[in-house]
Symmetry: C2
DNA sequence: GTGGAATTATTCGTATACAGTTTTTCAGAT
DNA sequence: ATCTGAAAAACTGTATACGAATAATTCCAC
């Protein structure tokens, strides 16, 4: 019971608005929306060949879930505030070690096999220096083990800041030096899962969050310097 | 900044649907809705003198926020599953110690004064053996310190299972033996806040959650026994 | 050319209407 | 009295329409 109600694998949605919601969320999660795209209900409705109401419902729901930000003129991707990102790292340190520990005790052999496959895909993507592909693989890896966290409330709490995690990851992925760290970290996490080692899994994910924060801070610093330089040139 | 966007103090809502949402959430949080009440959009719309749409928006939003459960015939309070309640205790143990620690460092003198006042109210309610009043006071106490948690994401995560906390508390409040424990616990928490003692506040809230779980388990056991007895009598 | 006011175009929120579905009710047969 | 089936009622989801608010644009004075 209660497996079909969570949102990450967009299971068969019943209503039109539900389908639009899932489709748009998929686009958001795959990063198919530019930072400047404005989603307007009439346009979405026209694209899906329905009236405004289902489109509007879907957009408002995505906004309330935190995936979009309502503006006076359409819905946009939420602008990532530096402070908020740091807060989410804090939240992740509280939740994810326990989640990973629970997953370690709960992953089925099939799910472990799937994790192994997607890790191979990540390795291949890294070898090919295909950032987009690597990003997708990491997303799938993360979604996969989170899906097997048995505590539903905890799982939902994790999924709520999923988009922020991905956006931050996309920033840090720009620096290729981070790629081996990320893939190696996932491998260690996978190995801990295989050993059913809840402690190691929790420790590993905690280190992961710290490393992610460090990478983010570095990327943030670089961007800040660039901005300062260019504005100095302009002024 | 960022003080007017959260939901716990229902600041002036802009749209009709927002107002209805806040009003209904207030009723839910104050426990004014019976477990068998079915909220139907047409009825809500008629009550507020508007069309179905704003009422429907408000109800669906409440449902997505977890405060209501959509059924084939109207919206109802979510049925609390035993397993789910235990999971939320688990989640609370992860989040609330850190939240209380942050609150201890962040509460203003005015907010501390407000906590003191509401604690006096709780004492009075306990002396008068007024369960309803005590429940309200505890709710205000909790909402007050949570409101001063600076980490917005963490605060939202806490507020998300607010109704579950209250429902469980309402169960455990039936046993008057729990009342002194609860009020004393809040007093200790308040004192830790006053001393700006983040560690003590975190420890205290952690013990609180454990005590709450124990009280819930006991109440649950008693109800189970009663049910077993009555069904044995019936069968 | 530029600043500002008036106009136009979008977009949002709500109202009303209609079709499909599910539950309930009620009549009739056993 | 109870079961069965059809009709009625209730509820949901979606479509269309309209007024209000706000951003974008044009136009005019300087």
């Amino acid at each position: 019971m209660s497996a079909g109600k969570t949102s990450s694998p967009p299971s068969v949605a019943q209503s039109t608005s539900g389908q639009i919601h899932d489709l748009l969320m998929g686009r958001i999660q795959r990063g198919e929306l530019g930072q400047d795209v404005r989603l307007v209900d009439t346009a979405v409705a026209a694209e899906f060949g329905v009236s405004r109401m289902p489109a509007r419902d879907a957009l408002m729901r995505l906004a309330h879930e935190g995936y979009l930000e309502p503006t006076t003129r359409g819905f946009m991707l939420p602008r990532l505030d530096h402070q908020e990102i740091l807060e989410i790292f804090d939240l992740r340190r509280l939740l994810e070690p326990r989640a990973a520990a629970m997953a370690a005790l709960n992953l089925s052999d099939e799910e472990l096999k799937a994790l192994d496959d997607i890790q191979a895909e990540a390795h291949a993507a890294m070898a090919a220096e295909d950032i987009e592909r690597l990003h997708r693989a990491c997303e799938i890896f993360r979604n996969s083990w989170i899906a097997s966290v048995p505590n539903v409330s905890l799982r939902k709490a994790l999924q709520r800041y999923m988009t922020q995690v991905q956006a931050v990851r996309l920033m840090t992925f720009a620096d290729q030096a981070n790629h081996p760290l990320i893939v190696a970290g996932n491998t260690q996490l996978y190995q801990a899962f295989c050993r059913r080692d809840a402690v190691a899994a929790g420790d590993r994910i905690l280190r992961f969050v710290f490393e992610g924060e460090a990478a983010y801070l570095q990327a943030h610093e670089e961007i800040r310097n660039q901005t300062a330089t260019s504005s100095a040139q302009a002024g």
